[in-house]
Amino acid sequence: MKKLLLTIGILSMGASALFAQKYMTRTGKATFDATTSTSPEKIAGKNNEVAGLLNAGTGEIVFQMQIKAFKFEKQLMEEHFNEKYLESDKYTKSDFKGKINNLAEINFSKDGNYKTTVTGKMTMHGNTADMTIPGTITVEGKKVKLSAKFKVKLADHKIVVPALVGDKVAQEAEVTFDAEMTQQ
């Protein structure tokens, strides 16, 4: 009996995952800013090719981006970012796997703004860190817009800032994230 219940439980979870609506994007925008008050120039980059998939049934959400897709104001900064900081030859991608904490409060079939937090793991530069990110979910018909602002500690991902420029690059990067996801 217990086994039967368990099986039904798992099956129904699986079924809900299978039939749940999924939302996808390939054009999410992530920008970061690691400028400090002593930086001689603005240290910031943006990636407009963040891919993501949201399972509205389970609240699971994943994002992935190519590090080399980050664009900078200065080409040299882009080169340094890739070569010396994120080592994108070795760690080509960064991803986030998480789950919406207040899924019950979000109605994906009704337009509106919902505040939320997403808890998950962010992998960058080959190192994974647990994160809880506050943000908003805006439902607009068949689209779901996500936006969030949060900080990424470079140390969490073992991204090393040389002592020479230690006060010119922030130890925590401010990240702004926006994505418009469309129903699959």
């Binding site: 217990k2 368990l6 439980g9 798992i10 995952a17 996808m24 390939r26 054009t27 925008k29 920008t31 800013d33 400028t35 603005k42 943006k46 407009n48 090719e49 891919a51 993501g52 998939l53 399972n55 389970t58 699971e60 959400i61 994943v62 992935q64 190519q66 080399k68 664009k71 900078f72 104001e73 200065k74 080409q75 040299l76 080169e79 890739n82 010396k84 080592e87 030859d89 080509t92 991803d95 796997k97 789950k99 703004n113 505040k115 998950g120 506050p134 943000g135 908003t136 805006t138 817009k145 936006s147 602002k149 949060f150 900080k151 040389p162 420029v165 401010e174 702004t176 926006d178 418009e180």
Partner: protein, 369 residues
Amino acid sequence: MTKSKIKGLLLACMVTAGFSATAQDDLLNELNSSLPPVKEYAFATFKSTRLIDGSTVECLGPGVLDFRITHRFGAVSSGAENFWGIDNAYTKIAFDYGVNRWLMLGIGHSAFNKEYDGSVKIKLLRQQIGAGSPVTVTYFGNTSMETLPAPTLADSSYKWLASNRMFFTNQIIIGRKFSKTFSVQIMPSMVHYNLIDSAKYKNNTYAIGIGFRKMFSRSSAITAEYFYRLNNSSMTVSGQPTYNTFSIGYEVETGGHVFQLMLSNAQALNERTFIGQTTDQWAKHQLHIGFNISRVFTVVKPKGYEEKGGDKDNKGSWGSAGGDKDKDANVTENKKSVKEPKKAEKKEFKKSPKTDKDFNVNEKASSNW
């Protein structure tokens, strides 16, 4: 609670926990499989557009200006009275500009024979990671002209033509980044001399160059470069024998500068001299200490970073992560800047036709919380 109940509960917890973890991986795999394959190119094969004397496969980025000061002192073998060569230096000042991702144009002036030169560099192939081209291939062309006063000719029936002063170089540079720290390039080269010492020699000198760069720290590397002539190796210049050029160097990068220090038997700084007309040799320790300093400037900012694009406006709103306190500031900021950057942004990120309105629009959304 019976033992079996506890066991059951535990099992259920484990199963659900395991399920949710793998579900996220599954979701990521699902996302991955739906994405088109990414073409990845090697970058920073060499740190600069010049290895030591010769060019590398690298071009400048679009809108980037490189100001380069090159210095070669006299021969170390010239002794203490010349302060081991430091007294006699040739300088070259050059500007190179990246027109787009694959085209670079340059002008320069070198003190040796007061030579002006213009150059063009075209990236033909980019090394790709995985499938695709295993090498980066770049064409380099250079035309130079001496501007020394015309010599008095023994036979007055001869004329000293302007074309006598001109030299042309063509190079195909094939480079490969083997690892994060090690890159090699081969440079098949052809130099055309309009005027040569004797009819015994050919006007075209063909040579093969080889160069490498090995990094030994985050910012510094050792480099070497050698040009081997396939013909004309017995060519003389104003009666002096010529030798193949071999140079070793050390380069260090600090911010926007690349500083290169080298030791070479070539003193003059244009292709026509260091490929085919080097009159000094390692065997006699006729070596020249020299340095190159390169400083890059971003003249034209890439699309999406134009001044008017509102990045400066946004700086304030990036300043506090997740704070509700700057909500009002954001909203007003966005209202005024929503319209103007649209045009500039639209052209740029072609892959995102639906959502590329611009950053400010999205800022608006994020400022809701």
